[in-house]
Amino acid sequence: MSVYGDDAHKLIRDAKRTAESPVLAPYRGDLVRNVLAEMQHLSSSLREIMAARDRVIATSSSPPTPEIAAEVQGLTVAATMHSLSITRSKRCLLAYARHRVTRLVDTVWDLSGGAATIPVDVRRNLSPQESDFVAGYTALVSEYKGLFLDVDLGAALVPPRDLFVEVRVLKDCGEVQTESGAVRLVKNSQHYLRRTDVEPFITAGYLRHIQ
């Protein structure tokens, strides 16, 4: 068996190493399971140590002989070590989960808080629980956004420069309603349109903003 705490450390290293990568790294279910098994193992031996310690204290004369006192002290130290390892592993697990949640939250907002449009390469790196979280969070965000329809909370957090932008169509969008009428956005055509009308398409990758 590997050293105690090793796998927990690996989780943290994994999170740190991939913190800058554009796509969330695959979920390390194997490591998480190892850490959990280790914690369960540690906490059952912690229970045994505590029970042994209680037994020694109960059967000792008072005041305890020096040998008994030393034994109790030894068991106390062992119990402390176990308890600290468990606490540390819990911290590592939660830090790992929290780190991924934060990344997912950012991803949801990057897609303008939008629907179920999480890209496939992110989706397949999620654990089932994380997919549930994303679904719940997306629902929460759209509920909150619904309270401020006028300002479109999902739009990019970049200060507006121009009312109109030049865009090139990367994928066919069909006919799109704008404030001043309908436009047919055919692949490879270029248009000069109101930014607010086409921003969702830019975020979704259908159009490219030409500087």
């Binding site: 850490v35 994380e130 300002v151 957090l157 507006p160 009312l163």
Partner: protein, 244 residues
């Protein structure tokens, strides 16, 4: 009306003459200048709501903790924008001049929308960072809008459920808590009020004793200091200093 906000006024060029450059963890390359066109150097806002909200927005972005929600400002600006949208619709854009005006109106509205959007999103980001702390402390809780309380509570629920399913439910009961405290380490993350901030003095304050230091400084209007947030927190709440 917003129409007034585009007229230049030379006596106000000390306000916002340099666009503040702000970066946070949420969007690292964020720059915003209130006058990004050279010929708008002395743009002023006749309507104080816009100026106030802009300052609250900047404060919110710079302060480590969540500030009071400016419900009145947000509401009145939302109402104003609705009225403005009506005016734009009624304006014809037949002549080049009026068409140009309509563009200016619309541009102005986009900018206000941006500030409101960014303001609300900055607050959401902070709420998500310190959810449990904010929900538990009565003082922070009172700074949230009703909608934000809803958001925070549901978010906390989601998080707790996720952590539970992720690992905690397989552990013994005593390890399932999300708010353990060991010595001086707590699982509930809170804002770092000792963080350093830049601030600009708005009115004559005189000699000011810095908290947790023997140093006193004389604060004159328009001086800019780089101080611990804790030291100037109350001054900012009283509107005597702005964060920049």
């Amino acid at each position: 009306m917003l129409a007034g906000s585009l007229s230049p006024s030379p006596d106000d060029d000390d306000h916002m003459d340099t666009g503040p450059t702000i970066g946070t963890a949420t969007d690292s390359t964020f720059t915003f200048s209130l006058n990004d066109d050279n010929d708008e150097d002395d743009t002023t806002y006749f309507n104080d709501d816009i100026r106030s909200l802009t300052q609250w927005w900047i404060n919110e972005r710079c302060a480590p903790e969540l500030l009071m929600y400016q419900a009145d400002l947000v509401e009145s600006l939302m109402e104003m924008m609705e009225a403005q949208a009506g005016i734009i619709e009624s304006k014809s854009s037949d002549t080049p001049d009026s068409a140009f005006l309509v563009v200016l109106y619309q541009q102005e509205m986009e900018r206000i929308k941006f500030i409101i959007r960014s303001y609300l999103r900055t607050r959401l980001a902070k709420i998500q960072r310190h959810t449990l702390h904010i929900l538990r402390e009565a003082e922070y809780r009172s700074r949230l809008s009703i909608d934000e309380i809803m958001f925070a509570e549901k978010y906390q629920e989601l998080l707790a459920h996720h952590f539970q399913k992720f690992a905690l439910e397989e552990l013994p009961d005593y390890l399932q808590r999300l708010d353990d405290t060991t010595e001086n380490l707590t699982m509930v993350s809170r804002p770092d009020l000792e963080d350093a901030v830049f601030c600009r003095i708005k009115e004559q304050i005189g000699v000011f004793q810095l908290e947790s230091s023997d140093e006193a400084i004389e604060m004159r209007p328009n001086n800019i200091y780089f101080l611990r947030y804790n030291a100037i927190r109350r001054l900012m709440e009283d509107g005597k200093v702005d964060l920049v």
